[in-house]
Symmetry: C2
Subunit: 170 residues, 2 copies
């Protein structure tokens, strides 16, 4: 059944209300599920913790996570649309000065939703936001398993033989 223009507008209003006007629908061919990228929909910290559990990340105190999100340059949620209760199925955030440097952290897609190109759409969305800010350069630290994922999307791996270094608080 084709939806009428009025119904389409109703749906746009509903999506804007749930995810903010800067939301983007993901392309999910052959799927009945509607997945939405949003900058504005507030992330529930318990739901984020469940997502991090699902991808195997270690837990952090929620009050520290809250503060880290508050001080991030960009926080993106990938939501499985439901008019009553959208579910968080993906996430990424950036720190940075918003002008010269931005750094991407904590890119996650729930295992049940992996393999459908959502990680790539999430990263395109992140880079589109940073491009709109006119950030010069975006950086990230890629685990061995995702080096080709980023390489295939135009990221330069270790340009000028740069190496990454970490210092961990004692």
């Amino acid at each position: 059944m084709l939806s009428s223009p009025a119904t389409d507008l109703d749906q746009v209003d509903q999506l804007n209300g749930l995810y903010g006007t800067a939301h983007r629908l993901c392309s999910t061919p052959g799927s009945q599920v509607c997945l939405v990228l949003s900058l504005e929909r507030e992330i529930d910290l318990f739901e984020l913790e469940q997502l991090c559990d699902a991808v195997g990340w270690s837990r952090r105190p929620l009050r520290r996570v809250r503060k880290a999100l508050q001080h991030s340059l960009l926080v993106v949620g990938l939501w499985r649309h439901d008019p009553r209760l959208p579910r968080l199925v993906g996430f990424a955030r950036c720190t940075g000065d918003g002008v010269i440097e931005a750094t991407v952290w904590d890119v996650a897609v729930h295992p049940l939703y992996q393999g459908a190109g959502l990680g790539k759409q999430l990263m395109v969305f992140v880079l589109d936001q940073l491009r709109a800010m006119q950030v010069e350069r975006v950086s990230l630290f890629a685990d061995p398993g995702v080096v080709s994922f980023y390489g295939n999307q135009g990221w330069e791996l270790e340009p000028q033989n740069r190496r990454c270094a970490f210092w961990y608080s004692p």
Copy 2:
């Protein structure tokens, strides 16, 4: 000639006035020059540009540099003390959320002041500030020429075989 305690106090007041109470004097054995690390003394953008020229970095529009500094987590100047006109001879800054992640950028010491351990003292000062914030992890991208500099100071190079990736704005 030994200075009297009163004179010492005068000097502390002077240094606090110029560099803020959180300043730190650098150790420069055998040198008559007094060098001071400061979080609080405002960086003159033209002076910063001269420092960047001296270390061979490409120039950026000053309005973008100003905004980047305003949105940095931490900005540190290394000053050659002069009661009338302190000169900027070193610099470093960090971006980050101030809780989980911080990233160090733009570490520079003027060539005339290199080789005296000032870069190391600058980095110790930066890490002390980040430790006081209770940041979990600090990261940076090391050019080939400074990989051993960071390795010798306890930075872990490419832990878990992570690789750095950059995306440059078109």
